[in-house]
Amino acid sequence: MSAYKTNNKVVAWIEERLPIFSMLQHSAVEYPTPRNLNYWWNFGSLAGFMLVVMILTGVFLVMNYTPNTHMAFESVDRIMRDVNYGWLLRYLHSNGASMFFILVYIHIMRGMYYGSYKAPRELLWWVGIAIYLAMMATGFLGYVLPWGQMSFWGATVITNLFSAIPVVGPHIVTWLWGGFSVGNPTLNRFFSLHYLFPFVIFALVFVHLWALHTVKSNNPLGIDVKSPQDTIPFHPYYTIKDLFGIGVFLMFYLSFVFFAPNFFGEPDNYIPANPMMTPPHIVPEWYYLPFYAILRSIPDKLGGVVAMFSAILVLLFLPWLDSSKVRSGKFRPIFKQLFWLFLADCFVLGWVGAQVPSPNVTLIGRFATVYYFAHFLVILPLLGKFEKARPLPASISAPVLKGGGMAAGAHAQPMEKA
């Protein structure tokens, strides 16, 4: 880290004691970034922005929320009606959850398409999965807090997943509930954890950035930075690009908040929780639907739960399951097709998850589940061995400066050594 030069005495005084300015200079201003990042690389910073929005709106909502089964629904309704701009804060928060997942899903898919999980970025990928898991937990806990019908029955169904564990399962469920059914103790602890987890996510984001700045950003070509020509400083190039991205995203996000605030919601959650009556059709929030479909496609209780968790945990092994040495899908003609097929498979699973179970739907769900796992466990390990990758460019700056692809017919380059 080069010494930070300044004429400002206050800055110099602080810098001597806590080198915060040189750190910022190093990691947010000078930070050398590949010059060829496309707009798919905006979604990481967008997700970070969304995390801040969620924490901020959440903190202010808590000022008027009461985590008690007798008052939770009323307190949320009071936020909507009586608290100044309470409706805005709540709709920002509830729609924000969906936005956060949209952004993170695109971010994950970008990483999968461009091979951002491959060496040396395995730990960066792992921390990302940890963030995703923490987000899923936070989203679930938060959905319970308004104490509507979907809150209550969502909590009941999800906590009951743990009863599938042999021997200790029922005890774990009782422990999670703090009673013999979902009730006030459950709501209290869910509230406590819902407030805690975002700060865990925040810490994980720091680790994610730390890992990123150690191994540096991947790029659409998937090849390593070879010379200073390949990079540009983060500021002002990517700060302005990220800010522009935030502007576009905000227009998308706020269109829902102001004009279709209940688009992602379920009408049943405007009915206060009733432990004596389950709504006729309960579905989880859309961001869990693919995993919900996997759960339902296995006819065995324990098997379904195992499959569901495996569907996420298999991502941990992705850096080693993908045997190809080429990072970017841009140069992998077959992988590219299969990537879109995999994405379509995820959408099919999502659709299945939203349906009322019927024999046909279950059949589709089973095929899609099998394909989901086959993509990771069969296709990716084999594909790297048989696929003939297109030639890689010599450097990042070469094709960018020439503004075109490589000459056709050049033979495949040896692997990028990562």
Binding site: L88, F258, I271, W340
Partner: protein
């Protein structure tokens, strides 16, 4: 081209997921077209007032409106004096007083709309075993929202189809899940008389009261949409500026 695929897929998926649950339920709903629909849609003040009259004279005999305070009716144009006398029409239990007794007192503007029955059991006992649901959030708590309520109110038929059995004390309704509803048909032509001279047809009355009920569930709608337009206009300018600046800064890189 491919850049478009993902957003399109995502949009299709979101629309699918959003409507998926809706797709396989119940009969087609009527879509009378309410003034408050769409980006530019706002509540029709006259309809709100008429709708409140219908609620007050008809619905509130059986249904509660527990989350709407009398004071908030100022937003649909009631004067403070009207609100005060309206609140005082019904009595509510308060107390204990200095002797330790609970007592009844007239409602105040700060009270929530006083329900017709003191509790759910009393409501059920007086209505053939089925307590009339609270209407405060009804327009948000049913799939189809205002269109569902509208269709339900106009969905009564005297003679059910041959294959539908309606138990005694219930009524056939084309929209209600299971088709056997405990509520008798609440709206007929001229069940209310409008002060503003609007002809009180069944459809008009229903449209008005649904408008009022949607207001009860979403009182912030007018403010929300107006603010939304301002915010999006502002963001459009800011984003355009950011884009121009981005182009300017990146000019020498490409």
């Amino acid at each position: 081209m491919r850049k478009l695929i993902l957003p399109l897929l995502a949009a299709a998926f979101l629309a699918g997921a959003g409507s998926a649950a809706r797709a396989h339920e119940g009969p087609e709903l009527l879509h009378p077209g309410f003034s408050f629909e769409g980006v530019m849609g706002r509540y029709d003040p006259a309809a709100l007032k008429r709708g409140f009259q219908v609620f007050h004279e008809v619905c509130s005999n059986c249904h509660s409106l527990n989350r709407v305070a009398y004071r908030s009716l100022a937003a649909i144009g009631l004067t403070p004096a009207q609100i005060k006398s309206l609140a005082a029409e019904r009595e509510i239990q308060d107390g204990p007083n200095d002797e330790g007794q609970m007592f009844m007192r007239p409602g105040r503007p700060s009270d929530a709309y006083i329900p017709p029955f003191p509790n759910k059991q009393a409501a059920a006992a007086a209505n053939g075993g089925a307590a009339p649901p609270d209407l405060s959030l009804m327009a948000k708590a049913r799939k189809g929202g205002p269109n569902y309520i509208y269709s339900l109110m106009l969905g009564f038929e005297d003679t059910p189809p041959a294959d539908v059995k309606i138990p005694d004390g219930k009524f056939y309704n084309t929209v209600f899940p299971g088709h056997a509803i405990s509520m008798p048909p609440p709206i007929q032509d001229d069940v209310v008389t409008y002060a503003d001279g609007t002809k009180a047809t069944k459809e008009q009355i229903t449209r008005d009261v649904v408008t009022f009920l949607n207001w009860a569930a979403e009182p912030e709608l007018d403010e929300r949409k107006s603010l939304g337009l301002e915010v999006l206009a502002f963001l459009a300018v800011l984003t355009a500026l950011l884009y121009a600046l981005k182009r300017q800064i990146w000019k020498d890189v490409h």
